[in-house]
Amino acid sequence: MSTTGKIYGINGPIVTILGNQGFQMSEMVYVGQGRLVGEVIGLSREETTIQVFEETTGLRPGEMVEGAGRAICVTLAPGILTNIFDGIQRPLQSIAKVGGAFIPTGVNVETLDKSKRWETKICVSKGERIYPGTVLAEVPETQAILHKVLTPFDVCGIVTHVVCHGAYTIEEPLVTVALDEGGSRELTMTQQWPIRVPRPVTRRFPAERPLITGQRILDTLFPIAKGGTAAIPGGFGTGKTMTQHQLAKWCDADIIIYIGCGERGNEMTDVLEEFSKLVDPKTGNLLMDRTTLIANTSNMPVAAREASIYTGLTLAEYYRDMGYHVAIMADSTSRWAEALRELSGRLEEMPAEEGFPAYLASRLSAFYERAGYVENLNGTDGSVTIIGAVSPQGGDFSEPVTQNTKRFVRCFLALDKSLAYARHYPAINWLTSYTEYLNDLAPWYRDHVDPNFVYCRNQILNLLTTESRLNEIVKLIGSDVLPDDQKLVLEIARVIRLGFLQQNAFHAEDTFVPLEKQLKMMEIILYLYEKCKSLIEMDMPMALLREDAVFEKIIAIKYDVANKELEKFQEYRKMIDDFYQKIMDANA
């Protein structure tokens, strides 16, 4: 018999029950006649506090609250990919079928399609010993992804019966197992897992492989490791969402979980439409085949917004356990933090900085620590990479969410308003951004791309840093008075900014650039710098060098050289040599 109670008070998404009725902390509850889904968030002898994941309009004191006897869980089985869920894993497409274009309250739909029969290949045989995480069966969930049905983590024993290969629904038993602790259990494709509990792993590996994104400023200047964490803070209009979209489209993870947490409805529609059309260049499959969307838009209930982050994380960990590399795009963690603040305010908790609850930092750290490159219980390797957007209030990075996030992520990609105003995209500021992964990843770049890669990267960053120092002077006295070698640095830095850092997401070739081309671009820019430098050392004036169109041609490489015609770089090298020779001939 489940625990029940009666509603005493209602204040927005917070419902209270008088007295202690025996509910458990974090237990899932059904509230009122509409059976709205809620969660117990506070217990005392005097009252039980519940947050409700749906609109509470129409709820009356005295209506029943019923405990589910378990924490808020996600349902894990084939059918998760290509789907779009709300913050507590209810499929929005099914809700639309039941409730129409607008989302009604108390709508009851199945999380996953229980009638669909999946083509199943059984991977265990009778008499085999299975452990938590052992792959029981394989199901081609989409064109791109083979779903592995895992043994639940509380099951350990010997298989006594298996079904034949064939088509099964997610609820039909596949395997019967005699448990070590006695008794037997039938296993289906479905399992439940509480969203707030990290799924266990054997051990964690250091992050030594990069998440390749095809975005030049990320891959070269500020790489992210697989299993790493990154934050993208930026005021409104600086391109957080665009950057997240680009990463979701092109990064080399196997699976993308895109969490739209308190963001715009039209943006989620955009992702849905675009990903259903776009083809993954590496596999030729639709991008949607490897993607799950969690959409809890800003006008959907605030408590579900808080939960959406955990729902997404748990789904990601589930696919990681199958041995996949998963990347989570959380857009935006500030909305999640604000949901915490809103609920905390309703609970009349003592506010800390800027009204945020004092536990903001510990919640953020617990969130980011669920990322990692790990060995799973079944011996496979997988990773969860978390890339969280942060929307600082007033674009000011000193606010609590940005500051606390900075403590727990190792890659910080600061978006800059002035770059965005000048429509320099991605508007990642190369002076305030940083990555701690560079040293971890350097061996990989050396072995898999080129020994020269990190050296080039450092040269490029050096030039940019020098430029910013020179710009301080230019701001005071103008650029004309600088010596020619410094003018050259400014010119090369301009080439780097326009030709390398700026990347056009809407250009067919430029939207994704392989590492080889990135390296070649860096090399050709540095070669140009070297040649010009030696001309300047021979007292050729910068004004003379600037007359040549070579700088503009190098800038246009990103458009003019297709990703597949890297041999063209030889021509550019020759062009620079000719330019050098021409100047020498004319002036020496």
Binding site: F102, H424, L476
Partner: protein, 465 residues
């Protein structure tokens, strides 16, 4: 079944507490009868067993703890709607105040609305020509978008909004039905009157539904006004298949009203005393713009807000910017240079622009021209800073050209007459003419092919002078 409760247990500004309430529910509407004749409306905002806290939509003057009868209506806040609301004027609660009598409702809707399912939305792609270069060219308005105007007190945001409405609605002779829903929250009488007169003069007033809560009307009513207006807009758009432009002014007053009521309720304040749910509240309004897939009709929102002290980082513009799909920012210094409309283009943005322009919709060079104008105008700022330190004479040749470009951009591209209606071709051509002030090498945001095709260069400039 309607029980009447006699007497109240507490009155605190617009908030009233009643005890012994049976079966009341959260956000239920309540009717009060004061002294047996005066009727007032309220809404339950907090309920603890039998004690309800009720927000009164009118002034609580004259109410005492003894003389008031309270009756629960058993319904949330609703409004009766029919197509007849067009051409009419209502108060902030949706009651007619134009003396033309009640409307006969065709249906009754809950004003709280429901969130639009993201997978039933249609991504907005149809651009709306406003005839204003700074908007059409650089921050294109898309049908189904929410694009606020960030303004300050004393800036001509009302005039700009009226011009957008006038030119966007009556252009092109299209066959689609178009209507305007206008919601005023705490605005001055003159402002409401200005809009009414403008609609009348442009002959649009039969297509306008006005919801007015003026600055001397009750504060609590202000909280419900935008919801009522948006409910009407959704009805006209999705059930009557019209294209609706919603003007909400002034969102700052709405947020102020929220802060006032929140502090009376004794809630814990977050930023600048605004309640923690300010973001969620604003979002439930702004997100009611959009297009439902497979349904003819759309809701486009142009909220107007005055930034306190012209500060764009103030919580109201800040949170708004995070929810809306861009913003049009007005700047005082441009206004002081007598440039109308004083749109500062650099912080202005339209997020939906990228998908609604280009060869299929406007012209192939639109995106490139826009990027280049933004980028070059940003550079103008740097040149001006430098000029203010070392003097204009000392600037390099290129920087001088930028100064010239900057002045021309403000005077010829941004500035236009209050009834000047430019076509997109004109706007882009002005853009090219201005870009030609700059040397070709400086135009680094434009695809080489497009540059070859459209760049007019110095000769055009020479012939122009």
């Amino acid at each position: 079944m309607s029980i009447e409760y006699l007497g109240l247990s507490e009155i605190n500004g617009p908030l009233i507490a009643v005890e012994g309430v049976q079966d009341g529910f959260y956000e239920e509407m309540v009717e009060f009868v004061v002294e047996g004749n005066q009727k007032k409306l309220g809404r339950i905002v907090e309920i603890n067993e039998d004690k309800a806290v009720i927000q009164v939509f009118e002034s609580t003057d004259g109410m005492s703890l003894n003389n008031t009868h309270t009756r629960l209506t058993g319904r949330p806040m609703e409004i009766g709607l029919s197509e007849d609301i067009l051409g009419r004027t209502f108060n902030g609660l949706g009651e007619p105040i134009d003396g033309l009598g009640k409307i006969t409702p065709e249906c009754v809707k809950n004003v709280n609305g429901m969130p639009l399912n993201p997978c039933c939305r249609e991504y907005p792609r149809n651009y709306i020509r406003t005839g204003i270069s700074a908007i059409d060219g650089l921050t294109t308005l898309i049908r189904g978008q929410k694009l606020p105007i960030f303004s300050g007190n004393g800036l001509p945001h009302d005039q700009l909004a009226a011009q957008i409405v006038e030119q966007a609605s009556l252009g092109e002779g299209s066959q689609e039905e178009f209507a305007i829903v206008f919601a005023a929250m705490g605005v001055k009488y003159d402002v409401a009157e200005f809009f009414r007169r403008t609609f009348e003069e442009s002959g649009a007033s039969s297509h306008v539904a006005m919801f007015l809560n003026l600055s001397n009307d009750p504060v609590v009513e202000r909280l419900i006004t935008p919801k009522v207006a948006l409910t009407a807009a959704e009805y006209l758009a999705f059930e009557k298949h019209m294209h609706i432009l919603v003007i909400l002014t002034d969102m700052t007053s709405f947020a102020e009203a929220m802060r006032e009521v929140s502090s009376l309720k004794g809630e814990i304040p977050s930023r600048k005393g605004y309640p923690g749910y300010l973001y969620s509240e604003l979002a439930t309004l702004y997100e009611r713009a959009g297009i439902v897939a497979g349904v003819e009709g759309s809701v486009t929102q142009i909220p107007i807000l005055t930034m306190p002290n012209d500060d764009i980082t103030h919580p109201i513009p800040d949170l708004t910017g995070y929810i809306t799909e861009g913003q049009i920012v007005l700047e005082r210094s441009l206004h002081q240079k007598t440039i109308y409309p004083p749109i500062q283009v650099l912080p202005s943005l339209s997020r939906l622009m990228k998908d609604g322009i280009g060869a299929k919709f406007t012209r192939e060079d639109h995106q490139d021209v826009a990027n280049q104008l933004f980028s070059s105008y940003a550079r103008v700022g740097e040149a001006r800073d430098l000029a203010s330190v070392i003097g204009e004479d000392e600037l390099s040749q290129v920087d001088k050209q930028y100064l010239k470009f900057g002045a021309a951009f403000e005077q010829e591209f941004v500035a236009q007459g209050p009834s000047e209606n430019r076509s997109i071709q004109e706007t882009l051509d002005i853009g090219w003419r201005l870009l030609s002030i700059l040397p070709k090498e400086e135009l680094d945001r434009i695809d080489t092919k497009i540059l070859e095709k459209y760049y007019v260069g110095q000769k055009a400039e020479a012939s122009a002078t």
